[in-house]
């Protein structure tokens, strides 16, 4: 393959990640085309990537820690997570609606997107690779207790298990159970217990501070 359709007087190889997977090649071809046709600019793509990788689960953890310490905030978070995020000065992102759900002694929620990889990226950062994998996406709706066991979560048989499949415009954020023995911790220390996986529902919050 020589040249790729623009005006250079020399051949050069495109900048890739080496052994480029088919999906990456397709994305790159689409980007080339959209830029050539003036639909988007390179800067838009870069700005989008910069935004995505700048997001981290620390923002979601702040919401959860506040909810653990302030019951009225928790009610507001459950009623309208987008507004609650704005209240803490966090960017809830472009998704129209974020719905927070609470794990309790009696009810456990776990989130999946069986159709693709919908995820509250603004509050949790990019989704983990396993979240996008076919086994996670298919098994979480058919045998979720087995999936949770593999992640190290053993639920009692009496616990009601709800699998939330984010098939459309809603992004789900799980409020994990506050660990026993965390009573004396500050809100900041509590936030350190709130892991990414606990906000997807495949893990419980960490039982003690990670040093």
């Amino acid at each position: 393959m020589s040249g790729h359709g623009h005006d250079h007087d020399h051949d050069h190889a495109p900048i890739t990640n080496g052994d480029e997977p088919a999906a990456a090649a397709r994305a790159r071809a689409l980007e080339e085309l959209l830029v050539d046709k003036g639909v988007i600019r390179r800067e838009d793509v870069r700005a989008g990537i910069d935004w995505l990788v700048s997001r981290t689960p620390a923002d979601g953890a702040r919401l959860v820690a506040r909810a653990w310490t302030d019951p009225t905030f928790k009610q507001r978070l459950l009623a309208d997570a987008r507004a609650a995020a704005l209240e803490l000065g966090l960017d809830p992102g472009p998704a129209p609606v974020v719905v927070a759900v609470e794990n309790t002694e009696d009810v456990h929620h776990v989130v999946v997107c069986t159709l693709c990889s919908c995820y509250p990226r603004a509050l949790l950062g990019p989704p983990p690779d396993w979240y996008k994998s076919l086994p996670y996406r298919s098994r979480t709706v058919s045998e979720p207790r087995g999936v949770l066991t593999e992640f190290g979560v053993e639920l009692d048989d009496e616990v009601e298990l709800r699998v939330l499949d984010s098939t459309a415009d809603i992004r789900y954020l799980v409020i994990p159970r506050r660990p026993a023995g965390s009573e004396g911790l500050t809100e900041e220390e509590l936030a350190a217990l709130v892991t990414r996986d606990s906000m997807i529902g495949v893990a419980n919050a960490a039982p003690r501070l990670r040093r």
């Binding site: 609606v97 058919s142 709800r162 699998v163 984010s166 098939t167």
Partner: protein
């Protein structure tokens, strides 16, 4: 046709060749309206450059009654009343 929380609904079992957000595993299944999310643009036309209008009501529908329940977000035009 609009639905209220608690109503039983059946998801249409129809084939849809284009982009749509109704997972195959719940087509033809009966479930319960768990939450009314509000009105959202239609992904079936938006996916092809359309404006997605008119907006459609989106519901959380809960399925199953055994070991676990699955809640999927289903647009109104995929739902019908179930006994």
């Amino acid at each position: 046709m609009t639905y209220r929380v608690g109503q039983r609904v059946r998801v249409a079992a129809r084939h849809h060749a284009g982009h749509h957000r109704t997972p195959g595993y719940c087509k033809g299944k009966t479930g319960r309206i768990e939450r009314v999310h509000g009105q959202f643009t239609n992904p079936e036309t938006r996916a092809y450059g359309g404006d997605g209008l008119p907006e459609l009501r989106l519901y959380s529908v809960g399925f199953g009654d055994g070991d676990h329940r699955v809640y999927a977000d289903i647009f109104e035009h995929w739902l019908e009343r179930a006994p």
